[in-house]
Symmetry: C2
Subunit: 468 residues, 2 copies
């Protein structure tokens, strides 16, 4: 063994069979529900042109893109000045964005939303609107890795573009509810509307300070009303504005009661009133259909405020302290940046890594989520015995049973410990005497019970089924 | 619409819903068979350290790796000499490998085999041997894009490490056979053994020329025996060696007959004899179990000769002219390069893109492989009607039926053309009168027949089922 044991880049992960089975349980559940709601699959390339990605995630986002070095002699034809700083010194104070632009033209996708917008514009003539798609693929971010934050992780997005109807919001919320019902995770579905936030800012006379206001009131639960008010003053709001905000922060009661209070308070604002109406329609819609989740109204909910223009959705696990496990909302001009304005979209995204942590914390992964898929392992006692085992395994597989033949005629102890490690429920033994008598001994690894049956698939299947 | 319509990097692809459904049909078939044979899923990161990838695919391969530019000020601390050629001129005749090594430490995986070897060594203490894994993930190569060759494509690999037994080969061949039987593609399974090739080279007195010999005799079908012989002379073989090779090239008859002839001819070579014995064991093994595919012995088959050490497998479609659609073999020292010698592996890989082309050419995709998964679309006639539709759609989904509600109350013509474009088989109509009467009109889009039934899920399901 050489000194330098191989490793993988920090912030990335290998997934072992048991992790894969658990992750696939999450992906499959989400995919099945997406499909039942008629969202259809789409995939886009891992690499996008940097012109597609740059400028879409803010200046910080540009830095967090993984950029692909151009192939071949990537510095050929580069002006030497690009390698110099302002004072002409080589390799000092270089303008990196300018240089990078010359030696890299592709980057790894940072999310699934921008590639989807690019997809819609590029294929506009082939798509039937409204277009409902889901996409489950990894994304890459050169973030500082930390617990629960990775440089490669999967996103699971469902979006519909080309329809303004709130029916989409209602169905997306049902879909979110159904995913978590199937995963047996109790969740709180938090709702807000960007127009409500705009209405609040307008009402208190600071339409320009919508981000400051939202950021501050988002901390209400954590730091209390007095600290929120102090922060608002610090962020440049007048005392009068802060006073006007107090009744909004004080709304209380059920979701419906709070919505009614909000409706009166925001009556002077046209935008705010529209936001309340949209919330009312969505809430009435999902209530009528019935929800497993707890519905909540959260006027401080923003989630990428510059992005959403209507409904804002966030999902929290009720029984585990962890960040949001799903979220989404409506964005009215997704494709405008690619030259196709006026196309409204709304969607939700599931965070597979956090959902994984929640399922693990609550011990909610199904028992079948184990490392080996094998139902029955045929032990290997030599060439002739193994030939019989191979033939039986083939028959069992034809009946849909996951069967495995241990490839080497090594000591039984080793073969048994292989079965144990894989949590394989049955071991079939065909030794010399079994071979001669046309029998097979089936050992139930849970009970330890051994049964001798005729060496045919049906007899073996009968034993497997009887143990269920 | 701006002038610069967005695009994707050359050699990459977007996959539309119908392409995704077809691709998933291939992946799901392969995955199901992998699973039945107890291969368990593993995933590795898209990015590997360049130290893991470099030098594993030859000098040409190193150039074809997509390399990730380091984050931040990637030129900081670089010696200016790295930007100069041998004569000291800036940016001229740069030693690119040396410079690239300084500004890039990660690359995109080029195949699934090297990451798997790295995985096995890195996780050696957690793995139970023999370790059987499958992996279905994209790989990236900066190849010149051309028809059927992409810069991003999926590989579907199954490998077992830690067992020398030929039982693995027999089971892998069964697995390959089963995949193509399920896909309804007639295939020819070509077999060879690296030891046979070594034996031939040894027999004719040129053990060092194994690659030249194989390359030349691989062309037998295309250019004929005389041209092959001429090429062998050109490649430095003696006339005596070429004469000695003739009986081997002349073997004929059934697979079993050719194997017997090969056995006599290679009797003087210990390695060659071992290769023939291995082939015999594998062929007898799969014959005993039964194959849907046609088995063939091809002594010119090499497939990455420097890589395989035993069995070599290649699969060709019988009814379509296309390169190999699957292949594999045994490699005795996969993990040696990562400091873990003596671990034998054997595996197969499926080429999803070529399989896709074969299925398309032979019209073998199942009818369900269409753009929309929707079974029934509820047309939208307004708020109250839509509320009824949403409730019924929810019930249908609970019964596992993929149901969709058109989100906007637009003209029927538009809604119907949406159903047509998605090949949606049923449209449910709840207009004012249906709503009042508690009815729903279900239109069978294939026959055009309309049926009025009670507005409950069971009545709708009965119509859907009766049309099957």
């Amino acid at each position: 063994m050489s000194a330098n044991k191989p490793s993988i880049p920090k912030g990335t992960r290998d997934f072992s069979p048991v992790e894969m089975v658990r992750r696939n349980y999450i992906f499959d559940t989400i995919r099945q529900v997406f499909r039942l709601y008629s969202y259809n699959p789409v995939e886009t390339p891992a690499m996008e042109n940097l012109s597609t990605l740059m400028g879409k995630y803010g200046e910080e986002g540009d830095k967090l893109l993984f950029k692909i070095l151009n192939s071949g002699e990537y510095l050929k034809g580069i002006e030497p000045a690009l390698l110099e700083g302002p004072d002409g010194a080589l390799l000092t104070d270089i303008n990196y964005p300018r240089l990078t632009n010359k030696i890299s033209e592709k980057g790894l996708r940072y999310d699934l939303t921008v590639p989807f917008a690019r997809f819609v514009v590029q294929h506009r003539n082939e798509l039937q609107m409204p277009f409902k798609r889901y996409q489950i693929q990894p994304v890459w971010r050169a973030d500082r890795p930390q617990k629960g934050r990775y440089r490669e992780f999967y996103q699971c997005d469902a979006d519909v573009v080309g329809s303004d109807s709130l029916v989409n919001e209602i169905e997306l919320l049902q879909m979110v509810d159904e995913v978590f019902r199937r995963l047996k995770i109790n969740v709180i579905l938090k709702l807000n509307n960007r127009k409500v936030l705009a209405g609040i800012a307008e009402l208190i006379g600071h339409p320009d300070k919508i981000i400051d206001i939202t950021t501050a009131i988002d901390k209400l639960d954590k730091i209390g009303i007095e600290n929120v008010n102090a922060e608002l003053i610090e962020r440049g709001l007048s005392q009068e504005a802060v006073d006007k905000l107090q009744p909004i922060l004080a709304i209380s009661g059920t979701v419906e009661e709070r919505l009614a209070q909000l409706s009166s308070l925001l009556a002077p604002s046209e935008t705010g009133t529209l936001g309340v109406k949209e919330l009312q329609t969505v809430i009435d819609g999902v209530r009528a259909l019935g929800l497993a989740a707890t519905l909540d109204l959260d006027v401080s909910l923003a989630r990428g405020l510059n992005y959403y223009t209507g409904t804002i959705i966030e999902v929290k696990a009720a029984d585990v302290q962890i960040g949001s496990i799903s979220g989404g909302g409506r964005y009215d001009n997704l494709t405008g940046v690619f030259g196709m304005p006026g196309l409204s979209g709304v969607g939700v995204s599931f965070g597979a890594d956090r959902i994984y942590d929640v399922l693990l914390a609550l011990n909610l992964f199904p028992a079948e989520a184990k490392a080996s898929a094998t139902t029955i392992l045929f032990a290997n006692f030599g060439t002739a015995e193994c030939a019989r085992a191979l033939a039986l395994a083939k028959e069992l597989r034809a009946a849909g049973i996951c069967a495995e033949v241990y490839p080497d005629a090594v000591k039984m102890k080793k073969q048994m410990s292989y079965a144990d490690a894989g949590e394989i429920p049955f071991v079939a033994i065909i030794g010399e005497s079994e071979l001669a008598e046309g029998k097979v001994t089936v050992k139930d690894m849970t009970t330890g019970q051994q049964t001798s049956v005729d060496a045919d698939a049906n007899s073996i299947i009968a034993i497997i089924n009887s143990s269920k």
